[in-house]
Amino acid sequence: MQNDDKLVIGGHEFYSRFILGSGKYSMQLLEAAIRDAGAEIITLAIRRANNKEKDSILSYIPSGVTLLPNTSGARDAAEAVRIARLGRELGCGDFVKIEIMRDSKYLLPDNAETIRATELLAREGFVCMPYMYPDLYAARDLVNAGAATIMPLAAPIGSNKGLATREFIRILIDEIDLPIIVDAGIGRPSQACEAMEMGAAAIMANTALATSGNLSLMASAFRMAIEAGRKAYLAGLGRVVARGAVASDPLTGFLRD
């Protein structure tokens, strides 16, 4: 990867474009994500850090790796703000992934509340990374609210169903100037690669690794797939023939003047 190809989030620079999500947490997964997937950002649910084992969890994060606390468990903006502040008090830093869900079955994000929380937390100096359902209007509102990135879901959390929202994520990539980090639902390295080819800035995944047969191997596969997709995006994809062959005589061939 080119050394100058950096992922910049809220003024912070990263070289890795794999971010470990927080769904299924274990020390082995952390190790694999950092060592084999090259993760420089690790998500951690604040509600998970807020227990007697927090010291062992927080102290395990190596220096040089950025902790991304999330607000999972929040059902509205006010709760997300309280959880984010608690994370800061616990020493989790200024990054925050804003997750607000009012549906315990599908765990879909509530865009309206997420916009409110982003506005409030950005004002308090947090580097806000809102998780959202890929809707262009909501994404624009998040930009105006002070988000540092936009994190649309590819498919329901934990579903491993891949880029189910492909066309809507493509619109966000085209229209929003902030990094678009594809979050949730990525089940295979090939899906991560496809998202990166489209121009996603990074991939967040967890379940795909956590539920694989070999954490280390899958982490490494994700790293390679993300790098491949990024290179393809930077190189510019070749033209894809839509229907049949391309006519050798251009239709504009009749133009003489």
Partner: protein, 417 residues
């Protein structure tokens, strides 16, 4: 073995025995279970109707192996698929159900298993439920802990690195008032991250008060959804009012609780219908309150003090496993709790397949944690147990055993907001 619930404790007076026998033998001496008592809140809800309509049409004998195979192949388990999985036709497919349930549990919960412990703070009860050790006609040692005694118990429990506690009482509004339970919740918040309640059903305002005191989860066992059997087993007291109990979780959610737990006590009636009803209770309430966290448990009948013959009848471990797998396949997102009513070997196995939460360091008695944990004779009064437990592992033993199974014990991932 058929259950023989009825017995007379020796020290009951003749007048009390006569009243007890009248309740047992003369249905006209008992109140209508559908009639609310004064002060009980009625809420406008269609959940009960939806659940019971489905249960009434559940003829599990009509399902075939083909229905079961289709249910197992289906990506989204419908109510009809779920019924097939609960039917006798699914019994030969138990292994396949386990594999499917295990995959779903892994996708939704990873390899985590949550741990908690119950704390009984009083065992006075005003109900006569014939299968329960706390029933008002059972002569047992009754105790209501003072706040100082509760604090002492909590200190001992917290010393075992337990972060989630479930507070329980017998169902006595007089002895265990809402204020008393609320004070216990406030104390519990000082020692534990997460406080749940399993107490008698109350009105919405009372749930709101208890939530403000620090509780965020409410579990109410419906015992059986079979109203005919319910009538024959719950002979007097507030608990006899079946619909008020049914709506308890909905009132709790309206009162601000984050999550609610459900269960039928398997062995009291037709277990397949009760298992169906419990899951549908979750299903319909979740559609109405999508933000709420829901959990299910599957307790089986156990022997009680003074009646060792009580047993879960036709609900053997295979049937219990079938129900738990069907629950997981139908409701992938719900927490499933398996209590110490079950043996260690069953609990070790089921946490790898469908269950997401187990209790540890359990006592179903009152005020006896110190003696049970340390072997030291406690100076404080102790009350008898609600039922006999089947797995007495401590928190440390449970954590060790879960880790040995390749799973990750989790003490808590909750914030009170």
């Amino acid at each position: 073995m058929k259950n023989h619930y009825l017995f007379d404790s020796e020290s009951l007076s003749q007048a009390i025995i006569e009243k007890k026998h009248r309740l047992e033998n003369d249905p006209s001496a008992r109140k209508n279970i559908m009639d609310y008592l004064p002060g009980m809140e009625r809420i406008d809800s269609d959940v009960c109707g939806d659940v019971m309509e489905q249960v009434s049409r559940f003829d599990y004998a009509r399902y075939t192996e083909r229905d079961v195979r289709e249910a197992l192949l289906s990506e989204n388990c419908s109510i009809d698929d779920f019924m097939a999985l609960l039917s006798p036709a699914a019994e030969p497919y138990l292994e396949a159900m386990c594999w499917k349930a295990q995959a779903i549990t892994g996708r939704y919960f990873g390899n985590t298993v949550y741990l908690f412990t119950p704390l009984y703070i009083a065992n006075y009860c005003e109900n006569y439920c014939v299968y329960c050790g706390f029933n008002c006609y059972n002569q047992i040692r009754r105790v209501k802990l003072t706040m100082a005694q509760i604090q002492h118990e909590m200190e001992i429990i917290a010393g075992q690195n337990i972060e989630e506690i479930l507070l329980l009482t017998g169902e006595s509004h007089v002895q265990s008032s809402i204020t008393y339970i609320g004070e216990a919740c406030k104390l519990a918040r000082k020692y534990f991250r997460m406080v749940g309640l399993e107490v008698y059903p109350v009105n919405t305002d009372d749930y709101r008060f208890l939530h403000e005191c620090g509780a965020d989860y409410v579990t109410v066992f419906q015992e059986t959804y079979d109203t005919v059997q319910y009538e024959a087993l719950h002979l007097c007291g507030h608990k006899r009012v079946w619909p008020y109990r049914f709506d308890a979780q909905e009132r709790a959610l309206r009162g601000g609780m984050r999550g609610v737990g459900f269960s039928a006590l398997l062995g009291l009636s037709d277990f397949r219908k009760d298992a169906l009803a419990g899951a549908l209770h979750v299903y319909y309430l979740q559609r109405k309150y999508p933000h709420a966290e829901m959990s299910l448990s599957c307790p089986r009948l156990r022997p009680i003090v003074n009646n060792s013959r009580i047993n879960p009848q036709d609900v053997h471990e295979r049937q219990l496993c079938q129900i738990l797998c069907a629950y997981r396949i139908f409701l992938p997102f719900v927490g499933i709790t398996v209590s110490s009513r079950e043996k260690a070997s069953f609990r070790n196995g089921i946490v790898k397949i469908a269950a997401t939460k187990v209790s540890a360091s359990v006592s179903t008695g009152v005020g006896d944690h110190e003696s049970k944990y340390t072997g030291k004779n406690s100076e404080q009064a102790q009350g008898d147990e609600q039922f006999e437990i089947n797995d007495s592992r401590s928190m440390a033993e449970m954590r060790r055993d879960i880790a040995r199974e390749g799973l990750q014990p989790v003490l808590n991932d909750y914030l009170y907001v």
